[in-house]
Symmetry: C2
């Protein structure tokens, strides 16, 4: 029985389990059980887990939409509102997000804004959602070609991680999730970095051994939860979680979301690592070890088909850009990231050049 | 120089002035001046005040939409986001709502959700917005025929009331605003009730005497600010501000928003007063005085063209309804309201009957 508390203004618990058996109990603890419950999911996840969760939560109400980032827009949110109305949801009703990051971000945003906020619960089924996006209360949709442009900070009532759902995840999606876990290792504590770097652990994780997965996911959540608790609405420190995302988001958007998020973050981290090295913040050995860690989980470190100018242009469109100044998260040292808004553009272009094949 | 602080988690100031002259200073106090500033307004207000405010705030960026409740939907919000993107707004940019309640609710919602929240400022130009909707951080749009179904709690950085804008307000809009002011008098403190009930004051207010208007608006804001500060996200006490709104929203929606909000609230208050009297909470004299106060500002107390059944049916569609139970705000006594979820349906129907002509 492994739990973790996220100490935000309204604290909540992350449950790590190997089945859905304990979810009724988790709901009951918060008096969420005997209410109208709607499960939001997508057409990848629904055939595998929807009925299982409906039975566990004793509800018949659900909303499913086509899987994938292209659905992450306001029209899908409007369809959710219509469904909420049709089922007469009220302020005590509970929205459950069953799926990966897209489902979690959108169900969270719909819940955060319906009646100015009704309770919601994250049930992440992808590795990326389990190690990262289900924790911290960032909800959003894409708008006008900009990822997560519209959204809200709104913490879930609880997060329930069923590790066994990783058995049905595609290998590519698993690799993508590792991108965020490796990010936490590089910007987070040394113990987690050592754990992920150990060759025996790498093998255990890649073969989905439950004990290793638990340590992988809980370790990531611990690092993220600590940052989120100290800066819930991203006034400063939380920005460091965007390590690898400055270049990463640009690549992801340029690829029309055909490249998975965590893979783009991995490539973006390589660019950020090389700027950090050039500035003298990290040694060549630090740089090599970090790139080795990224590669050890089969994550990409380079990209083909784009040039530096178009990647740079997309970086200026990102919502992290302030007053037309690029803000790039770099390493002060391994384990410590910071936001740098004064990296000369030529240095950025050089770093992008290094990730182009 | 009259100011009032709203003591929410992030406190903010309401400025009461007789021109826009002091608004640059108000912005400067909060370091909001040398940023990108976008003014959102509607086509009623724009011809009169937009250029004046653009000059005062030294900005060229604005977004205007057709006036009226029928525009209060997600598509208008999406148009605002597009405009924000076009002008490359970032997280430090400031959204200014120049107008009545519809402008304020929508500009606030767009600001609350763009990049998960950028700063916004309320510059209310209608009496209704000045005495009520610009204070307290409720932002929203209508959806699926339900008023304010989608929204967020998000406090403005400041509220700047230019009392002189009431000189260009239509008489009907002025009367509507008095509906919310009278509500505050009935559920709020006795001094404010006495002030509004005084025949000399009534005359001063109706003839827009600046000193009387200041006392009217500041008094309302004080009552509202105290309630909001103690219950920012409407977990309890804040619900009492919905006095008159349970029946009022139903009438407003049934009329397709041809009846103005404050007038519907006035009629709704008459229904709530009669239930409060029937329950023995207020005396016949209390009831008569309250209705007299409503009438003294030319507010309606009855309605024609609808029957009790259809009004009741619309009340069940309101977002205040929990688990199909009507929650009606009543008076415990004059000056003290509470939410009652056990008023027998026949009593509600009787009360509705009393407001039908």
């Amino acid at each position: 029985m492994e739990n973790l508390t996220v100490k935000t203004k309204k604290p909540y618990t992350i449950y790590f389990r190997h089945s859905f058996d304990d979810i009724p109990n988790a709901f009951k603890q918060l008096d969420l059980l005997n209410r109208k419950i709607i499960i939001i999911t997508d057409n990848n996840v629904a055939p595998i887990y929807l009925n299982m969760l409906k039975n566990a939560l004793n509800t018949d109400i659900s909303f499913s939409f086509p899987a994938g980032e292209p659905q992450k827009h306001l029209n899908t949110i409007a369809n959710m509102y219509s469904c909420f109305l049709e089922h007469k949801l009220d302020r005590r009703s509970v929205v459950v997000a069953l799926g990966g990051g897209v489902v979690g971000d959108m169900a969270g945003f719909a819940a955060a804004t319906f009646m100015r906020g009704i309770p919601y619960v994250q049930v992440p089924t992808s590795l990326l959602a389990q190690v990262d996006s289900s924790v911290g209360g960032k909800t959003a949709v894409d708008f006008g070609g900009v990822k997560n442009l519209v959204g809200a900070f709104c913490q879930p009532k609880l997060v329930y991680v069923n590790l066994s759902t990783l058995n049905t995840l595609s290998q590519n999606e698993f690799i993508s999730g590792m991108g965020e876990a490796v990010k936490h290792a590089i910007i987070g504590d040394k113990a987690y970095n050592d754990f992920l770097s150990d060759s025996a652990n790498i093998k255990q994780i890649k073969t989905l051994q439950p004990a290793a997965l638990l340590q992988l996911i809980k370790g990531s959540c611990q690092i993220k939860a600590a940052v989120v608790a100290s800066d819930e609405t991203e006034q400063g420190l939380r920005e460091t979680l965007n390590f690898g995302h400055c270049v990463g988001h640009a690549i992801e958007s340029l690829s029309n979301y055909t490249l998975l998020h965590g893979c783009c973050v991995a490539i973006g981290m390589c660019a950020a690592l090389s700027i950090s090295h050039k500035k003298g913040n990290i040694t060549a050995a630090d740089f090599d070890n970090a790139v080795k860690l990224i590669k050890s989980y089969d994550l990409p470190t380079t990209i083909t088909g784009y040039n530096a100018a178009e990647i740079l242009a997309h970086m200026y469109k990102d919502k992290k850009t302030l007053n037309d100044t690029l803000r790039i998260v770099l390493l002060q040292k391994i384990g410590t990231a910071y936001t740098d808004n004064s990296v000369p553009e030529p240095d950025i272009i050089t770093a992008i050049g290094a990730i182009l094949e």
